[in-house]
């Protein structure tokens, strides 16, 4: 029983992490019909900003040397600026093109950022230690929970709640949700297109910055491809949640995260290598039963 509670906390922590990435992808997809694969590189760049660019595999700290509050601000601020810049340079000029063109553009941005990182940091994985104290387990009612999982869960849940409140209560949040569902109709009703798109990218940057910090605290590793796995998972999450539905993105993120963590724990040791196959099998199964995703909105339907 105790073990099960620990596993569930693990599962929820991973699920909420994927939910955050999925929400970032879902928001941008909603307002632009763009599946932004560069989201992965926002995360990677955020993580690398912690260290000084060198070829060393144990580099000195850059943002990582700041006090925790300043470090968080610097990383999230940097990634948010990056997200806004890519929107301005690579996506806004293509806003009227078809989704395939935007997708190619996002691949271009992604490869560009990866090459840039390889150029200045070298291609080898690096070790970095921030928030070491947080990896200590916390004892609570006889259960030992890794501090990182608790931190991830707390941060992710706080961000999710804050985002939901933002989207439901503020004027720009309501406009953003309207635009995410039916962009043309929203524009007809006077929703400012450039502003809601910029806000969507800013949010995706804030989320990416946060996730990069949580990742580095958890693993202590930097690598050029570190952002790809969570973004691929999050992409599946938005698909099974229902493209264009923000609630669906969160739900989908929880489903793939929890499934992944449970398979990791309960699969026999010999089969554990097939964890991802199990998760993707589940994704296929959900899509066979509900091709439109778990939550269907107007965005998934044909537009007039």
């Amino acid at each position: 029983m105790m073990n099960f509670v620990q596993v569930m906390i693990d599962a929820l922590a991973l699920g909420s992490l994927y939910a955050l990435v999925a929400l970032a992808i879902g928001l941008v997809f909603g307002v632009m019909r763009l599946v932004n694969f560069a989201q992965a590189d926002y995360i990677t760049l955020g993580a690398y900003s912690l260290v000084v660019p060198t070829a060393s595999i144990t580099p000195p700290l850059l943002f990582g040397a700041l006090s925790p509050a300043l470090m968080i601000l610097a990383v999230i601020g940097m990634v948010t600026m990056l997200a806004l810049m890519t929107e301005r340079i690579a996506f806004r000029p293509l806003r009227r093109s078809d989704p395939a063109t935007l997708l190619i553009s996002s691949f271009a941005v992604s490869y560009f950022l990866q090459s840039l990182l390889t150029l200045v940091h070298g291609g080898r994985p690096k070790a970095v230690n921030i928030g070491g104290a947080l990896t200590q387990p916390v004892e609570f009612a006889g259960i030992r929970i890794p501090g990182v999982q608790l931190l991830t869960l707390t941060v992710a849940m706080t961000l999710l709640v804050a985002l939901v409140l933002f989207l439901k209560k503020t004027p720009i949040g309501i406009q953003l949700r309207a635009a995410a569902e039916d962009f043309q109709m929203a524009r007809l009703l006077g929703v400012p297109a450039n502003r809601v798109i910029a806000i969507a990218f800013a949010i995706s940057g804030i989320l990416a910055g946060t996730i990069s910090l949580l990742f580095v605290i958890q693993t202590g590793l930097l690598s050029i491809g570190m952002g790809i796995t969570p973004v691929v998972y999050a992409f599946f999450a938005t698909v099974i949640g229902g493209m264009g539905s923000l609630g669906g993105a969160v739900l989908g993120g929880m489903v793939v995260g929890v499934a992944s963590a449970l398979l990791q724990t309960y699969l026999p040791a010999d089969l554990r290598a097939f964890r991802d196959a199990g998760v993707f099998g589940l994704v296929i199964l959900i899509l066979l039963v509900r091709p439109q995703g778990l939550i269907v909105t107007g965005a998934a339907k044909e537009r007039v």
Partner: protein
């Protein structure tokens, strides 16, 4: 807020889709305060005409003017900003949002504060007779309420002209009667003109002051409902095709 415009005119509108003439020289005037019906058999060009007047379709030749200002080169957004609101056959309410938020988006779009936009939303929903709870999400609305919300939302942009595309389709008799009462009161309540595209002749004859009849992309007749009812050309256009539209003459 923006001042209300006085007339919406379409002059000599022609639209061609690769050699096929969807509209062939249609003239139409919608004064503020009036309710004009736009009718015609299937394929007459009604929806194309609405698309032209709302900026969704650029005419091959001809102009759309608001108080003399040509708007036919405008994008749909610019057209909407010059005071022309439209509703769609498919309603297109935001399903993820609540009923009230659907109208709040429209209010915010014309520059109202959130508080003012919310108050306006409540006023209009109350006026239009929507009583099923403003906080209900639009993903589970009955068909007739969905239409009512989409009309209310178009009006929440405080347009000078509202173009309503088949608002009564799929409504039962009682709902149609409620809708007629709503439409009749739009010009006075919102100081705007209404163009109504509708198949339901009971609704058209009940609320329109004038009726414009299209057939095969041309104007077949325009006049008072009584005149249109008796017009032999109109009767032939409706009864001539397959006899499926007997109710049209009613």
């Amino acid at each position: 807020m923006q001042e209300q415009k006085l007339t919406l005119e379409a002059r000599e509108i022609r639209v061609e889709f690769g050699g096929i003439r969807a509209l062939n020289g249609v003239d139409l005037t919608l004064p503020n305060g009036a309710i004009l019906g736009l009718i015609g058999p299937n394929g007459a060009g009604k929806t194309t005409m609405v698309n032209v007047m709302s900026g969704f379709q650029k005419p091959s030749t001809g102009e759309v003017r608001v108080d003399g200002v040509v708007v036919s080169g405008f994008t749909p957004q610019q057209t909407a900003r010059s005071g022309i609101a439209r509703s769609f056959q498919s309603a297109r309410v935001f399903r993820d949002l609540t009923v009230e938020q659907n109208l709040t988006v429209a209010g915010l779009g014309i520059g109202l504060s959130k508080k003012a936009a919310t108050e306006q939303a409540r006023d209009i929903l109350d006026w239009i007779g929507y009583r099923q709870g403003n906080d209900r999400r639009c993903n589970s609305l009955p068909y007739s309420d969905e239409r009512r919300v989409s009309i209310a939302r178009a009006l929440a942009t405080r347009p000078s002209f509202a173009l309503l595309d088949e608002p009564a389709s799929g409504m039962n008799e009682r709902e149609c009667e409620q809708l007629m009462e709503v439409i009749v009161n739009i010009p006075r309540r919102f100081r705007c003109g209404v163009m109504l595209i509708e198949h339901n002749m009971q609704v058209i004859m009940g609320v329109c002051e004038r009726i414009h009849v299209l057939d095969g992309g041309r104007t077949l007749a325009e006049g008072l409902p009584e005149e249109i009812k008796k017009n032999p050309d109109v009767l032939r256009a409706y009864l001539g095709d397959k006899g499926t539209r007997h109710h049209a003459a009613g």
